[in-house]
């Protein structure tokens, strides 16, 4: 049983009243707050393992809470609950400082899956930052500069379309996690539909071609037959 401590910050009582027991049933201990100031105070008092942070709260909003935490070098994992379906390149921007996001309305089971994934990433990270907070990621000889939107393989610059780059970024931020095409579409395109999932295949093909990755003996992106894709190489925070 996982005993991680979750700080659930949302001003909508109808949501926290039901979400908190669901998270407790999943094995977490939960503290609920309903505004930005209290959330910041509880973080320093209770040192939770993760914050589920609503963007729209009275007074100080969730984005400001996150910025203030990062400004004092507090890298506690944050899952942001947004109301606007923003795509990964916008929401996981370094300025934002969140580790993941979920768009309302969401399925509580999806939130639990995200919490598990973010906590796993935190435990795997050797530094105080997780990879989602780093500006440069490295996997073998592949380097992704998230700020400059730049990719290189073996010192050579690689040209990618914006969607392919966002897809690579999302896969590298969640290594070892297998995603369905629909999940990747939701995260990178901001919406999903069975008819459009081929768009994911097209971008994966573009990435493989650009990175020189052979699907038969893949170094980076593996196809999981009947499921989707995952990033197989070990991802680290790159220097420089």
């Amino acid at each position: 049983m996982d005993c991680s401590h979750i700080l659930l910050a949302d001003d909508e009582k109808m949501i926290t009243d039901y979400l908190a027991p669901i998270l407790e049933r999943a094995g977490y201990s939960v503290t609920v707050t309903s505004d930005g100031q209290t959330t910041l105070r509880k973080v320093s008092e209770l040192h939770p393992d993760l914050i589920v942070l609503d963007v729209l709260m009275p007074g100080m909003d969730g984005r400001e809470v996150c910025r203030q935490l990062r400004a004092v070098d507090n890298w506690i994992p944050v899952i942001m609950l947004t109301c606007v379906n923003e795509t990964v390149d916008k929401v996981l921007s370094l300025e934002e400082g969140a580790d993941d996001y979920l768009c309302k309305p969401f399925d509580p089971q999806e939130l639990i899956a995200r919490i598990k994934a973010v906590l796993r990433r935190r435990q795997a990270s050797t530094s105080s930052k997780t990879i989602s907070q780093a500006s440069r990621l490295q996997a073998g000889d592949l380097i992704l500069d998230r700020c400059a939107r730049w990719v290189e393989v073996g010192g050579q610059a690689v040209e990618l379309t914006p969607k392919a780059l966002a897809l690579l970024e999302y896969l590298m931020l969640n290594p070892e996690q297998v995603f369905t095409r629909e999940q990747l579409m939701d995260a990178v395109w901001g919406w999903s539909h069975a008819v459009a999932s081929r768009a994911v295949d097209v971008r994966i093909a573009e990435l493989r071609h650009a990175l020189g990755d052979d699907p038969e003996e893949c170094k980076y992106i593996e196809t999981v037959i009947g499921v989707g894709y995952h990033f197989v190489a070990q991802v680290e925070i790159a220097g420089g």
Partner: protein
Amino acid sequence: MRLKISKSIQVGLLFLPLLLGLALAIALQVISGNNPVIRFQARADLGTLALIGGSLLTFILLGGWTVRGVHNRSLKRSLATVLSETTLARRRFLGRLDHELRNSLTALHSTLGYLHGTSNEIDISRGLNDISVQVSRLRSLVIDLRKLADLEEQAIERQPVDIGELLKDVLETIQVHPDYNERQVRLTLLQSPWQLSPVQGDGALLSLACYNLLDNALKFSQVGDNVEVRAFEVDNWLVIEVADNGPGIPENDLPYIFEELYRGSNARGQPGSGLGLALVQTIVRRHGGTVTVRSRSGQGTVLTLRLPLGL
């Protein structure tokens, strides 16, 4: 353009008497030179000339001001028409949204009321299932409304899209549609003298637009009906047609079918959020194209997408 023409006609009419007078004066002057009977002479001192000049200027300014007034009033009338159309469309949309929300909320209220008064496990399970259905419906509605709003603002990706391949994928995906096996679905792509040119755009969004058209054709046709998907080029446009020989769309519904949440009189009871064609129209417009409909009662419907080539 229409305004410009009417404005120049108005200017012409205003100055017509003056021009006629001038022409007559010149003609008389010319004729009087050789004709001893008719003699016309114009003499005036500087003061009179200044007075005539001033009167002429005032006359011109007055004419210009009148024309501008007419022009502005006409512009204001056009703007007022557009605004009132927008207001009406907005009112229609809010009315439909209200209707959709009320239906779902009434169903939820009724189910909850029913659940409060029962301890039968089968009834509870059925009630929870119905709540889950209504919640999914509301969720889809919110997601689709947001998708529409996002589409208006987000930049559209411009990559070459092979429409032939795209349509083949759409037909493959839609094979699981509950009505697919009861219709005769055919795809015809322009093959000669050349293959279809690629369209610059967002393949995922264009797939969704074509899927929605085909989904509609399957939903609103009947067992054994034909559903044809055709793609060809006309001038610098790639044209996609989705045609069916189903019952057609009632004439009264035709002007509104692309509006958000509009449900035609023969669409009641059909699944869907009522946003499918609104999404198609927004996607196509953001690609610089158009979508139009032709329908004949009892004969069928054709929806036509036109996408610009070579942009």
